[in-house]
């Protein structure tokens, strides 16, 4: 193989070599080359040292309440979803064009409802005058008593027109 140390197109081979991801054929070819090329041996060794140095960084543990906090956030998102969605700029943009159409449809619906044939109204109540024209039963005794009262008042000196001057 051509010397990777002098071939910029193959410079990444040492990265793959250190990572252990070289295919069988490539690995065999490189290892044969390393036996005869001191420069490439140094490159390969340096890359392996970097690779090993990075192993020192062990990862942080997962916080124990990670899942519960995530589910809380998901629940919070769900509860405010409908009005948040309505207030989002992309929602406004998406439905801005549809707003006039929606308004026109609403107007048409109101107009149709107002012009729709109406059910017959219940019969109107009779006017008050008609009620008063109903036959009234006249008590004759009552009339006679009233006339007697008037006559008595006249005899006592009170005018029938309400004047209080004696006759």
């Amino acid at each position: 193989m051509d010397c990777p140390a002098h071939d910029s197109g193959k410079s990444g081979i040492f990265v793959s070599y250190a990572a252990g991801t070289l295919s069988g054929v490539e690995l065999e070819a490189l290892e044969r080359h390393l036996e005869v090329c001191a420069e490439c041996r140094r490159e390969a060794a340096a890359q392996r040292e970097v690779w090993a140095a990075l192993d020192v960084w062990t990862p942080a543990p997962v916080p124990p309440d990670f899942d519960s906090r995530l589910y809380e956030r998901i629940a919070a998102e769900g509860s405010r979803r409908w009005w948040h969605f309505a207030l989002r700029p992309e929602f406004s943009f998406r439905f801005r064009a549809a707003a006039p159409v929606a308004a026109a449809c609403l107007t048409l619906l109101v107009a149709l409802l107002l012009r729709a044939p109406q059910a017959p109204r219940p019969a109107a109540l009779p006017p008050a005058a008609a009620v008063s024209t109903a036959p009234v039963k006249i008590d004759a005794d009552q009339v006679e008593r009233s006339l007697d009262d008037i006559e008595m008042l006249k005899q006592m000196g009170f005018a029938a027109d309400g004047s209080d001057s004696p006759s």
Binding site: S11, G12, V15, A19, T21, A46, Q47, E49, V50, W51, A53, L54, V56, W57, T58, P59, A60, P61, V62, P63, F66, D67, R69, L70, R73, I74, E77
Partner: protein, 194 residues
Amino acid sequence: MTAAAAYLERDAELMLRVRDGDETSFALLLERHRRPVIHFLSRMVQNPAVSEELAQEVFLRVYKARATYEPTAKFTTWLFRIATHLAINWLRDRRNEKSEDSLDRSAAGEGAPIQIADRAPTKEQEMLYQARLAEVRRAIDALPAKQRAAVLMHKYHEMGYAQIARTLNCSESAVKSLLFRAYETLRARLVHMA
């Protein structure tokens, strides 16, 4: 079908079930992927509180996007793409605010010394380990964000060039170039540790 392929298909299958309203499948996806996502983000931003917050955001976005999910790419590629995007945005926004103490702050349990068999490390071993860890963290932190993401995915998550390329939305040759330059920089900074 290989075990790895079956594992990946299982992710897509679970996500499709989440799309159909199966909450249990989301819990399974969380169980399978929360650890690598948190580890990746903790190394990317080197701040435990922020990395946890960003990891929460990753899974929240996955959940919110369930209705439109289509298994066009590996689930892990999608997951790491979201994580990388969030981390790079955070690093860009906080570039001027970053202080040295974020590097020196020891995360709870992060970089805990590896104990060999039943022997506890001596004080000197512990000090040496912490010094090496600080060097590595500084070296990684000094890398540009995209190189850093590529190295972390390559080194700690065993991703191949093709998957890193899809995650970072670039070509495989660009990934090889990113990794080569990143490892060259790390070599220069960590050579004294050999």
